[in-house]
Amino acid sequence: MKTTQPTAGLLAEFGDTDALIAAARRLHAEGYRQFECYTPFPVEGLAEAMEFRRTRMPLVVLCGALLGLVVGYGLQYWTTVIEYPLNIGGRPLHSWPSFVPVTFELTILTAALFAVLGMLGLNGLPRPHHPLFHIREFSRASSDAYFLWVKSEDPQFHEQTTREALRKLQAQEVWDVPSEP
């Protein structure tokens, strides 16, 4: 798949997870930052080898939970005490114990919504088009193959030297990634 047009980088296939982790660690040590690994299942230690240690997911979910908590309780307080006060058997309007179940449910609901939408948003999904989808062999990334993509944006990237570096790291095969039109 040799093309003259500018490439979006190089895609390398590795034989197993250990080779992929070793390659990721080595590339990171050599100063590469714009590269990404693809595996058919979460591989322990791979993100760490790329020095990607912390995600903002817990913070996103905490924000969602707090939002649900405040809005859920506020909604019940405002409707029952201010907007539509009803005297039920002389009980106080602000009868907080009976507001607990709905507040709890809304806290969980918004936290879960933030977890799902936050995960998709931070991952940049949905994304129907992607340069890697042009490489036919990449379809095995969702079954039983392990890939590493060095992007051409990386300042370290140089087609010849990067290709040699990948070969030296036991890459089984290397493809040019066509850039998106």
């Binding site: 997870t17 990721a24 990404e36 690994c37 693809y38 595996t39 058919p40 299942f41 979460p42 591989v43 791979l46 993100a47 790329m50 990607f52 995600t55 997911m57 817990p58 979910v61 909604l75 019940q76 409707t79 029952t80 907007e83 539509y84 009803l86 039920i88 009980r91 009868s95 009976s98 507001f99 179940p101 709905v102 709890f104 449910e105 809304l106 969980i108 609901l109 936290a111 879960a112 919504l113 977890a115 799902v116 936050g118 995960m119 998709l120 931070l122 991952n123 999904l125 949905p126 994304r127 129907p128 088009h129 992607h130 890697l132 379809s139 095995r140 990334a141 969702s142 079954s143 039983d144």
Partner: protein
Amino acid sequence: MTDTHVQSDPSTEPRQTVRSVSQQISAIVLTEGPPRGWWAGFLVSFLLVMLLLVSVGWLFAKGVGIWGINQPVGWGFAIVNFVWWIGIGHAGTLISAILLLFRQEWRTSINRFAEAMTLFAVACAGLFPLLHMGRPQFFFWFIPYPSTTGMWPQFRSPLIWDFFAVGTYATVSLMFWYVGLIPDLATLRDRSRTGRGRIIYGFLAMGWRGSARHWKRYQSAYLLLAGLATPLVISVHTIVSYDFAISILPGWHATVFPPYFVAGAIYSGFAMVLTLSIPLRAVYRLQNFVTDRHLDNMAKVMLASGLVVAYGYLMEHFLAWYGGHQLEEFMLLNRMFGPYAWSYWALIGCNILIPQLLWFKSVRARPLPLFFIAIVINIGMWLERYVIVVTSLHRDFLPSSWGMYEPTFWDWSTYLGTIGLFAALLFLFIRLLPMISIFEMRELVHEHEHSGGASAEAGTS
């Protein structure tokens, strides 16, 4: 890491590889035609869905008078079935969320269809309160929104709590299930041979590529969702029990209700998972994924939760006696020896006596007796709700207002119809989506390969 894996009994056959797992599970959806049993099962359940449509249509035309509900028994089958279905759903969340948090890796091969079961059970459960409303077209009055009437829902009412609990439960279950499916949808997209399959699965997979950063966020989100779903599932049946416990009716007004309802939900849910998985694994030859060890573990969970349920019954009786309240005492005696005594004793037989067979390893090791016991427990848990709803309501404070409850044809047809709907949705699910989580199986097999050495690779064909 290796130590725990060597100790724990591998929950898959050792000759599985990352490739064979992807191949075997996705082939059920992509290449193999449905087996004959699928067509037979789908046909029967589809006919029952038609029965449901007729029943609901007739209900909309005539009103809830076509059911057996009356004064004093205003709750009848609709609430019995609602609680039964929602309880069944709880095992799916328990398996996928709580067992994930406890790192019980045997859950991997059953969590996907247990989650689907949850989703469809909650859909069936949600139908009943809507149909029971009398004016189902106004169901949205439950939702707090600024309307021209200037009125708002009554947040001190357990029925409103129930609406929020079930609504949240359905939404979170759907999201949990879908998030779990995304990587598998990508697998189906990439393995599909037809253009239509690639487009549909590709659309649903949302461009999932399995990048290491994505997996990291994905795992974090999945774990957080499990952490959120765990208290949620307990809160849902607790709030369902509040529908009863917050009232002042003898037989309902009991503080033991929330824990005993939650245990009952887990009990019935595991019974339903066994009822479904035993025939499924036989028809689709999935014994290498859903092993005898899975059945054994589920039977043990069922036995334990069944004992908690038995404790709940015991406490109900103890408190009626110890409380010394005349109405409570009468309610219990009426339950045991009154006109509905048959349902009470059948319940004790189904939920307490027969399941004691699960103590024997020889029973737990055989799929057929296990299947039979699971069905008995399903019936028992339905009877439990029947006993709670009907015997408590039919003879309340004043003998002059006593009455009897008889379900009509339409009660039964609606109930059977929802069983058909549940089964039909499950049949469509196992036809169109992977019923076992492929990527989690891959992960499990890969871990076993790594701990067991490279010998596992040799079996690849």
